[in-house]
Subunit: 101 residues, 2 copies
């Protein structure tokens, strides 16, 4: 795909035992500053109804450069520093290719 | 949640070996008739970029009743009849609870 195409991903984050609410708070804190980034098209947080230790972040970005910029910003870096304490397994990124009608 | 709240799910569908394009076509055929259903808020199809045999359908419905109505309609029933031939494992529904900022 071209560098400026919209990049759509789901980030999957599973909390360590006992860290569910701490992870939820840390993810909530990312929502507003991330949505204010110029390269962010969509950034929405969900908790799996049947597996509440697991969270999905639905993200769309104005290309890989926008995602690269996001992970370098202070609000994401602050979150990244806590990932080892909060996550039961490494953050997983599921990259999605849209299929149109 | 109340019966009329928006219900957001991801349907996960993995193609049998050799059935990827057939599954893709069958899922594409659902997009327009499903979006025309009065209970459908969002219905978007994606292929996993790094696991192209797997498709996600991002769905939002005006409550469980709207989803129940959807699976009873002819376009979904036609798809359901082919699921055994197309899918490597049973369709999985991931129910998502939104977390707001």
């Amino acid at each position: 795909m071209a560098g400026n195409d919209i990049l759509t991903i789901i980030a999957v984050l599973k909390a360590k035992t006992g860290q569910r609410e701490a992870l939820r708070s840390a993810l909530k804190a990312l929502l507003l500053p991330t949505r204010a980034e110029p390269g962010c098209v969509d950034y929405a947080l969900f908790q799996l109804t049947d597996e509440p230790d697991t969270f999905y972040v639905r993200e769309s970005w104005r290309g890989q450069a926008a995602l690269d910029a996001h992970v370098a910003l202070p609000h994401f870096q602050a979150f990244a520093k806590n990932m080892d304490a909060l996550l039961a397994e490494p953050l997983k990124l599921v990259r999605l290719t849209p299929v149109d009608a």
